[in-house]
Symmetry: C2
Subunit: 340 residues, 2 copies
C-alpha cells in the first residue's frame, strides 16, 4: 500500500505524518526548526529528514512505500533550488519527491477539504489568503509588525501599550489598561510620583517594554480582551476587527463564496473577535477553524499526488493525526524518567 508524507515545518518545530489514500495517519514524528529562512537550509533539511524518518518508523512502513511528500513552510519557495528537500531525502535513502507548499496553504487545508475559499489568520502576524483551484492566488497583509499585520496579536498588544501610556500621560482617556499593564509588568500601581515632569509609571513602563523584542508585544494582547467594558479596550478590539475584515475583503471575490477558515491564536482563542470580523464582512457560506497545520500538510500531500480529499477523507485525517499525536505524547511521557 502506498503512503504519503505531510510535513509541517515551522520556525520552532517540525512535524511529519505518514498517511494513506483514505486519510488514515499511521505515524507521526517531531524535530526542531525546519524553516530555511530562520535556520538555514542545511539545518532545516536535517530537521525535516529527522521528523520524516521518525514518522516512517512510527508508521512501521518501509521508506520505499512512501510515494511522495509535501513540506509546508513559510518562505520555503524562495530557496533558489526547488529540489533542496528532494536531494536531502535521496542522500538519506528516502527516495521520494518533496514538493514545497506555503504554510498559508496548509493553514487553509487544515480547516477544510475544499479547493477554494479563504483563510484569515491573526496570530503574531495577520493576513488573509484566497485559494482558487487548489492554489493560493491572492495574499493581503502579512507584511510584518512595522508596516502591517493589522489586527494581529502584535498589533493589539502594541495598541494596549500605547493607550495605557497615553492614559497615564494625559493624552488619552483614562483606561483600566494602564493599571492592568503595570500589574502585568510587576510594577507598582500605587506609585504616583513624577520624574522630570513625567509620571514615574510612564518611565517605568517604557524602560521595561523597550527591553523587549517588538514582536513580544503580542503578549499584551490578552489584556485588551480581559478589559471588557472599558471603552478604550473595546475600541482597540473593534479597530482590530475592522482591520482583519478589511484584509479579508481585500482577497474576496464574488465567484468564491467561501468557506472562510479562521486561524491564529487571536481568532481561535477569542470567539468575540471572529464574531466581530463576521459582522464587518459580506456574508460567507461557512465559518471554519484551522485545526492542525500537519493535517493541512498531509491533505496537500494526498491532493498533490492526485488523490481526491473529500469530506470523509479530511475528517479521517483530522481524527487519526490527533490520535497519533496523542500516542506520540504518551510515548514521550512514558520514556521520561519516573518522578523521584
Amino acid at each position: 500500500m502506498l503512503r504519503y508524507l505531510g510535513v509541517d515545518a515551522g520556525g520552532t518545530s517540525t512535524r511529519a505524518a505518514v498517511v494513506s489514500a483514505d486519510g488514515t495517519c499511521s505515524g507521526i514524528g517531531h524535530a526542531g526548526s525546519g524553516n530555511p529562512v530562520s535556520s538555514g537550509i542545511d539545518h532545516a533539511a536535517a530537521q525535516v529528514m529527522l521528523a520524516a524518518r521518525r514518522a516512517i518508523r512510527a508508521a512501521g512502513c518501509p521508506p520505499a512505500q512512501i510515494h511522495s511528500a509535501v513540506a509546508a513552510m513559510a518562505g520555503g519557495r524562495v530557496v533558489s533550488d526547488p529540489d533542496w528537500l528532494t536531494e536531502a531525502a535521496a542522500a538519506e535513502g528516502l527516495p521520494f519527491r518533496f514538493r514545497m507548499e506555503s504554510d498559508l496553504h496548509a493553514t487553509f487545508a487544515s480547516g477544510t477539504a475544499r479547493d477554494e475559499g479563504y483563510a484569515v489568520v491573526s496570530g503574531t502576524g495577520a493576513l488573509a489568503v484566497r485559494v482558487c483551484d487548489g492554489e493560493i492566488d491572492l495574499v493581503s497583509d502579512g507584511i510584518g509588525w512595522l508596516f502591517g499585520d493589522c489586527g494581529s496579536g502584535f498589533w493589539i498588544g502594541q495598541q494596549v501599550a500605547r493607550e495605557a501610556l497615553a492614559g497615564l500621560d494625559r493624552r488619552g482617556a483614562p483606561t483600566v489598561l494602564s493599571t492592568a499593564l503595570l500589574e502585568f509588568l510587576g510594577l507598582d500601581t500605587a506609585e504616583h510620583g513624577v520624574l522630570e515632569g513625567r509620571p514615574r509609571a510612564v518611565q517605568e513602563i517604557i524602560d521595561v517594554l523597550y527591553s523587549w523584542r517588538p514582536v513580544e508585544l503580542g503578549r499584551l494582547a490578552p489584556l485588551a480582551f480581559a478589559a471588557a467594558g472599558d471603552a478604550v479596550a473595546e475600541d482597540i478590539i473593534a479597530r482590530g476587527a475592522d482591520a482583519l475584515a478589511t484584509t479579508l475583503r481585500a482577497v474576496r471575490t464574488p465567484e468564491i463564496p467561501g468557506p472562510v477558515v479562521f486561524g491564529g491564536s487571536v481568532l481561535t482563542k477569542q470567539p468575540r473577535m471572529v464574531a466581530l470580523v463576521q459582522e464587518r464582512s459580506e456574508p460567507f457560506d461557512e465559518v471554519l477553524f484551522t485545526h492542525d497545520g500537519l493535517v493541512g500538510a498531509a491533505s496537500l500531500a494526498l491532493k498533490r499526488s492526485g488523490i481526491s480529499v473529500d469530506e470523509q477523507v479530511y475528517q479521517r485525517l483530522d481524527a487519526t493525526v490527533a490520535q497519533q499525536r496523542a500516542r506520540a505524547e504518551d510515548r514521550t511521557a512514558n520514556a521520561a524518567p519516573p518522578e523521584p
Copy 2:
C-alpha cells in the same frame, strides 16, 4: 568682566558659547557627541570640555573669567553623579560649576526670553512640555517610536509606508504615496507582477524598509507633505496634527496662556503643520519658533546665575550667537586646503 558658558550637548555634536550678562556672545566652540546616554559619560564629558575650551579660546578670555556653565542635554540628569561635568571641568583647569538642564528646556528658552509657556516639538520624536517659574513642570509624549512620538517625523514616515503598502495590497485606498515611495526607494514603478499571490512591489518595498533602522522611517515624512491633494496623504497630515494638538493640550493650563514655542524639523520646515496644530488648539497668545538650542543653553546659563534675560538680552544672544557661528564657519572654510 564675568562670562557665562552655555553648552548644547547633542547626540551627534556639541556646541558651547561664551556670553556676557548683556547677552553678547564672544565665542563658540564645537565638538562631537556630548550625550552620556548615547556615548558614555567619559566620552561625553571629554567632548563637552573640548567644545568649552574651544569656545573660551575663541572668546579670548581667561577661563577664570567664566562664572558658571549650563549644559543642556537629553537624559543628562539621569547620570547618577550630578557633578560629573563640574568634576571633569576641574580636572582640566576649568574651575567653574556646571549645571545640567534638559534639552527640552533649552528648546523652549531658544525661542523666548520668558519663564513660562510651552514647547511642542516634532522632529524624529514628538512631545510637549510646560515651563512654569523657569522650570519644566510637565512633559507629555516623547516616549519613543514604538509607543508614542505621535505626530513626529518617524510617525508620519511610518504612516506613509503603511498607507503606500495598503494601497498596493488592496486594503487601502489607492494613493500617489505608493508610486512616490517606489520612486524614493529607487524601485521599478512599472513592475506589476505578482509573487506568491502578493504584488511584487509590496515585497520589494518591505525588503528595503526592513533593512532600515526603524527611526530612519522619518526620511519618508516629506513624501506626505509633497503629495498635496492626495486624500490619503492629507489624512496622514491631519492625524499627525491631531496627535500634536492632543499632546500640547495634555500640558496646557489656563493659568499659563503661552507663548508656545514650536520646534523640530516637522514644525520648523512645514508651516502647514503649525497652522493645523493651531487650528486644533485653544488659542494661545504667541507663536514662536525654536532657533538654535545653543541660544537656549546660553540663556539658561545667564538665568541660572541670577541674571535677568529680558527681550533685549534674548535678542542680543540670538543675534550674536548667529554671528559667532558664521565666523566659526568662515574660519573652518578658510582653514580648508585651497581647491586645486
